[in-house]
């Protein structure tokens, strides 16, 4: 596949995107992902060739899909035990998490 080499992904961009994704990468990971993302984005660059003037985006592939509702009727909830069964940490019926430090 031709590599147009048009995309420049900076280290800062990778770090920004990692921060948004709640991931932290070390130097070598940042560098590796940076290069790989650049390669993928260069490939994806070909989308620009397609004339999409006036084309509607597809969110749902089947256009007939619309107005799907449920009635306002109760269905059973889980017990507190079941709700917390998979929790890594819990206390008094709550999920327990480390304190939120505002940053």
């Amino acid at each position: 596949m031709e590599n147009t080499g048009k995309n420049i992904i900076t280290k800062e961009t990778v770090e920004y995107v990692a921060r948004l994704s709640r991931l932290s990468l070390d130097e070598s990971e940042t560098d590796r992902f940076r290069g790989q993302l650049e390669g993928i984005l260069d490939y994806i660059e070909q989308l620009k060739e397609v004339d999409t003037e006036g084309t509607l985006p597809t969110t749902h592939v089947l256009p007939s899909m619309k107005n799907v509702f449920r009635e306002d009727k109760l269905t059973p909830s889980l017990s507190n035990d079941d709700a917390l069964a998979n929790a890594p940490s819990k206390k008094d019926g709550f999920f327990k998490v480390p304190r939120v430090i505002k940053d």
């Binding site: 994704s21 991931l23 993928i40 397609v50 084309t55 597809t58 592939v61 890594p88 999920f95 480390p98």
Partner: protein
Amino acid sequence: MKDILSSIDDCRSWLAEGGMSVKDAAGEFLARISEIDKDIKAFAFEEPDMVKARAGQIDGSPDNRRLRGVPVGIKNNICISGALTTCGSHILDGFRPPYNAHVVDLLLGEQALLFEGMNMDEFAFGSSCETSYYGPTRNPWDTARIPGGSSGGSVAAVAAGELAASLGSDTGGSIRQPASMCGVVGFKPTYGRVSRYGLMAFASSLDQIGPITRNVADCAEMLEVISGYDKRDSTSVNVEVPVYTDSLDSDIKGLRVGIPSEYFIEGIEGDVKKRVEVSIEALKGLGAETVEISLPHTKYAVSCYYIIGPAEASSNLSRYDGVHYGHRSEKAEDLRDMYIQSRNEGFGAEAKRRILLGTYALSSGYYDAYYLKAQKVRTKIADDFREAFKKCDCILTPTSPTTAFKIGERSEDPLQMYLSDIFTIPANLAGLPAVSVPCGLDGKGLPVGLQFMAAPFDEETLIKVAHAFERETGFSKEKPAVLK
């Protein structure tokens, strides 16, 4: 090893002749799996006690439903209440969902004997089953090779005769591509045909659950069981499900089979091309007509997919943060740190790569250029198919440009890996039903798959043509050495 599971019917006969309880049969199956799977590793893990308990439940029921006691594997991204379901990822360590996926309810309703833990690429991100936290699954035809992915475990287990059938999920080819590489039948239904409720989402607008079987008749039967409207899935379509098994043994004389020139490109292996050409002749021999068609936007499908898939995935996977379930890092002191550490420790490289790519594509300033653009190109791709189906009843292509490659061969080159789904991705983007059926072996003795695609909700045509092809060519009867 005796091939007692060469078809669901064979399995039924074996169960009936043995006259044993489902629990005893479960014991036999488990023993068989232990023996075969030590080289294949189709299972990420096994939970024999849970399987036996399920068998006991079936024994305790007076009913005699159509899949009673038939061993069916469930890809490890489909929820079975109480069963370990981890999506091949460390981040879901210990997760046992408190509910059943809709398809699981349907299979249990037919008394299938379910096996959890079928190995998969982490979060279905991959085409080789190498990105699993539990290690790679091996191709039963050559254990130095990948089985394909991401439903590699589900496929390998069926190909190696460990299970009669299995469920996989298909977002860009994850059922069809491994089915092709392991010489079995893999079916991706129309988007909306099978409920996604209980399928751990990768890309919500592309994901579909489908069956993997040894032959087309079994595929029709499984599809019949798992299809249908589910009010818990807003994208599940409320239309009647045909009796797919009625489409078996149909005549395909006059059926118009579209051959898109764009699918016979550079990069396709010579043997694969040859097998497909031979297959076209076989179909002609059955009275089918071939029609030249054009799907001009095919070359953009992979790009489109590698925007939409990761974008949706980046959002779907943000819930894995160590707060409510799954892996939580022990190292963190505050919440933010806990998120980051847990996700860093929990996700493998491919998952991280896709999360980063998807987050980038959705981030402020890039949305229009990437996500929105991809959604528009997606419309073009779907339009191509709409046009094509005016001229033909189904479309024939190779399933994958190559046969199974060696483990490790492509793991450092994500783009090359992504390109192995080039022929399967369009059906997901357009929401079409598609099936891969075996069409012989290449020079190395590895299976080649033939793909058929049809218009939305026309699964019947696929069953018809695939079954006719299978009867004529007998390629589904080929089996790996382990079963000989």
